[in-house]
């Protein structure tokens, strides 16, 4: 799907190639270094939280069951954040992820869907997510609606549709063909964690090792330049929102497996949690630069904070204050880094 776009007059694949090395030669070392420093700082935060957890509850924190509980809880929001990372790097934002999770979870657990068995339930969730993402993407890329507004509309209407379909009720999954395998373990590790790991791995490969990933950076960094370089920016943007939608579908499957039910109240505030994880992970909200590993650490930080606070029987309000403080500190750090990076790279447009 990549190089065939060379039909662009006078702009063969050259445009993608030479523009970059000229810039990267000077910046690459510096950028790599800055990313690494940020990543180290993030890891430091995570380690610090874990140390606090271990000191305050040595009996409970570093047990196998607690770690697997944390990862299991991080799985759904983590997968959503992977999709969000793609969208934000591509210069957009998706406020509708939580609502899409709700809609997918409801749609896949209606009595009609359940009657077709687990495979259809899973396909249904992914298809509904992809469909919502497609609508978002087309509105934004072809309809020229601002991402904030288009996904805000989806945020409202997807949850509305979820309430409509479920009639405001919690739909319990009776289909054990779905719950048993997904709630189970594989080689001692919960299946949900395997899925989470697979999504992160695939996302990382796509972002770091494929043309698609490089194009995503290009589209987010400078859409006009990307267009002149022969990238079909509109199609690419649409695909990014579809990826976010598919991730929501996968997350919905995880939530349904975890809670054994689908409800229109699922996925509440996922958009904020995901954006927060992406941003503290070092992805620029303006797009064009970002890291999936950073997002992963961001998600783990928030999950660990929640866990450590509960282990110490602290109230949720304190927990929220701590979350807010972490976001501010991480973003401040990032903007400092970014400014330094900028000044170092003066001259390269």
């Amino acid at each position: 799907m990549s190089a065939d776009t060379s039909a662009q007059p006078g702009a063969p694949s050259v445009s993608e190639a030479p523009a970059r090395p000229a810039e990267t030669q000077r910046d690459k070392a510096l950028r790599l270094f800055s990313v690494d420093a940020r990543m180290l700082a993030l890891l430091g935060v995570l380690v610090a939280i874990c140390v606090v957890g271990y000191i305050t509850r040595p009996d409970a924190f570093l047990t196998q069951s607690n770690i697997s509980t944390m990862l299991r809880l991080a799985a759904a929001i983590g997968v959503v954040s992977v999709g969000m990372t793609f969208v934000i790097i591509g210069g957009g934002i998706d406020l509708s992820v939580g609502s899409m999770v709700a809609l997918c979870s409801v749609w896949m657990t209606t009595l009609a869907t359940q009657s077709y068995g687990p495979v259809v339930m899973i396909v249904c969730a992914v298809a509904v997510g992809a469909g919502c993402g497609l609508v978002n993407g087309v509105l934004i890329a072809y309809g020229r609606v601002v991402p904030f507004i288009a996904t805000l509309a989806m945020y409202v209407s997807a949850r509305g549709l979820a309430e409509r379909i479920s009639n405001g009720q919690t739909q319990v999954v009776r289909e054990t063909g779905f719950t048993s395998p997904l709630r189970g373990s594989l080689i001692g590790v919960p299946v949900l964690i395997w899925i989470f790991a697979a999504v992160v791995l695939v996302g990382w490969i796509v972002l770091q090792r494929t043309t698609f990933g490089r194009r995503t950076l290009a589209v987010g960094g400078n859409p006009e330049a990307a267009r002149l370089a022969g990238i079909d920016v509109r199609r690419h943007t649409t695909l990014l929102y579809i990826i976010a939608g598919v991730c929501c579908g996968i997350a919905a499957i995880m939530v349904v497996a975890r809670t054994t039910s689908g409800a229109s109240t699922n996925g509440q505030l996922y958009e904020l949690d995901a954006i927060a994880a992406v941003v503290i992970g070092g992805t620029l909200l303006a797009g064009g630069r970002g890291s999936l590993i950073g997002t992963l650490i961001g998600v783990l930080i928030f999950t660990a904070v929640g866990n450590v606070f509960t282990l110490n029987n602290l109230e949720t309000d304190i927990q929220n204050i701590a979350k807010g403080a972490i976001i501010v500190v991480a973003v401040l750090f990032q903007s400092l880094r970014f400014r330094r990076g900028r000044t170092g790279a003066t001259g390269s447009g």
């Binding site: 039909a7 509850r57 009996d59 409970a60 047990t63 069951s65 607690n66 509980t69 299991r72 809880l73 749609w107 896949m108 209606t110 009595l111 009609a112 869907t113 009657s115 077709y116 259809v120 249904c124 298809a127 509904v128 469909g131 309430e163 379909i165 479920s166 009639n167 405001g168 009720q169 919690t170 739909q171 319990v172 709630r183 939530v255 975890r258 809670t259 054994t260 039910s261 409800a263 229109s264 109240t265 699922n266 996925g267 509440q268 929640g306 866990n307 509960t310 282990l311 110490n312 029987n313 109230e315 949720t316 309000d317």
Partner: protein, 352 residues
């Protein structure tokens, strides 16, 4: 080139349409064998009050049916109105927008019904419009979330949040004593902590346990959703390696709480639910897991509110009471539903 794109577009479009059609078929929620009990609670009038009287129009306004409990409130109101041949119910579309609900109630007032039954989304915000209705000579039955001023309603009927906590605490304390556990670890999965109703429930629970010489151990606050219930309980179970009892405020989020307990393979404690959903009652009846009881906060109060509204409009009192009028305030009792009495309560269990 154009041809191939056209064909691809056609195929993609066709596939999308087909997928859409298949997916649409998946939104049906009609069970193959509908349960005999639709989950609505109705009561026939007793004694003289059962006889049809003056025709009564009741205006009804409630928040959006976005979760099981509120959905049951609206269903119950409609079912109860349907029971009376002399009652016409004018229900507005439920909304969580305070301004919209005010507008709806104002529209109802203009229609001049005989009585209004209002479950406000926010009692404070709708107090004025309640006063307005009373001033216009329309008695208001305030359902559950109370108005700020008694001037805004003729009668209030609602649940007892503090009493729920007390019932749960007393039941758990009795169970602990029966088992001879001297210093039990008692956990609590609350609802949204910033809401007064959650604070009252927790206070009642704490007070009742304290009266028995016990205290609340690990405590988390969920958000009345299945997902938050599962998340918070997963962490709570990690915090407490061993529990003796657990009170969960809300059976809606209880589905998630039970999923977390199941995922952690824990069964050493007994659990008490809250509100009284049909799902929870079925589990209590089956007696197969940790859920042994639930304390009521039943949406059947909506049925009672309609019945009260009818009596007020017809200027009748309540059957067994001496007074000629309906009382100004009625608090429903938070009964403890256990395996022994669950059969009596199954009919008021609401679909969560």
């Amino acid at each position: 080139m154009t041809v191939s794109v056209g064909r691809r577009g056609f195929l993609l479009g066709g596939a999308a349409l087909g997928a859409g059609a298949v997916l649409t078929a998946c939104t049906s929620n009609t069970p193959d064998d509908p349960p005999a009990n639709s989950g609505a609670n109705v009561a026939a009038g007793a004694g003289d009050n059962a006889q049809p009287g003056k025709a009564v129009t009741i205006g009804f306004s409630a928040p959006a049916a976005d979760h099981g409990w509120i959905a049951a409130i609206t269903r119950n109101a409609q079912a109860q109105a349907g029971q009376f041949s002399d009652v016409t119910l004018k229900a507005t579309e439920g909304t969580n927008d305070v301004n919209q609900q005010i507008a709806q109630v104002e529209t109802l007032i203009n229609d001049k019904p005989d009585v209004l039954v209002i479950l406000p989304f926010d009692g404070k915000a709708l107090t004025e419009v309640g006063k307005q209705a009373m001033a216009a000579g329309i008695p208001v039955v305030n359902l559950d979330r109370i108005f700020d001023s008694p001037l805004a309603y003729r009668t209030w009927i609602g649940g007892d949040n503090y009493g729920m906590g007390v019932s749960a605490g007393n039941y758990i304390a009795a169970q602990m004593k029966a088992k001879g556990v001297s210093s039990p670890v008692i956990g609590e999965v609350a609802g949204i902590d910033s809401l007064p109703l959650t604070q009252q429930r927790s206070q009642g629970f704490k007070d009742a346990l304290a009266a028995n010489g016990f205290g609340v151990g690990p405590r988390v606050a969920a958000e009345f959703t299945v997902e938050s219930g599962e998340r918070q309980t997963s962490n709570l179970l990690q915090s407490a390696g061993k529990l003796d009892a657990l009170w969960n405020h809300d059976d809606d989020q209880g589905i998630g709480v039970l999923a977390a307990i199941d995922a952690a393979s824990r069964s050493e404690f007994l659990m008490v639910g809250g509100a009284g959903s049909r799902n929870a009652m079925d589990l209590i009846k089956a007696d197969s897991g940790v859920l042994k009881a639930t304390v009521l906060y039943s949406p059947s109060m909506a049925s009672s509110a309609i019945a009260l509204g009818r009596l007020i409009a017809q200027a009748k009192g309540m059957g067994d009471l001496v007074e000629n009028e309906v009382p100004a305030s009625i608090t429903t009792y938070s009964a403890v539903v256990t395996k022994d009495n669950v059969d009596d309560y199954l009919s008021i269990g609401f679909q969560s």
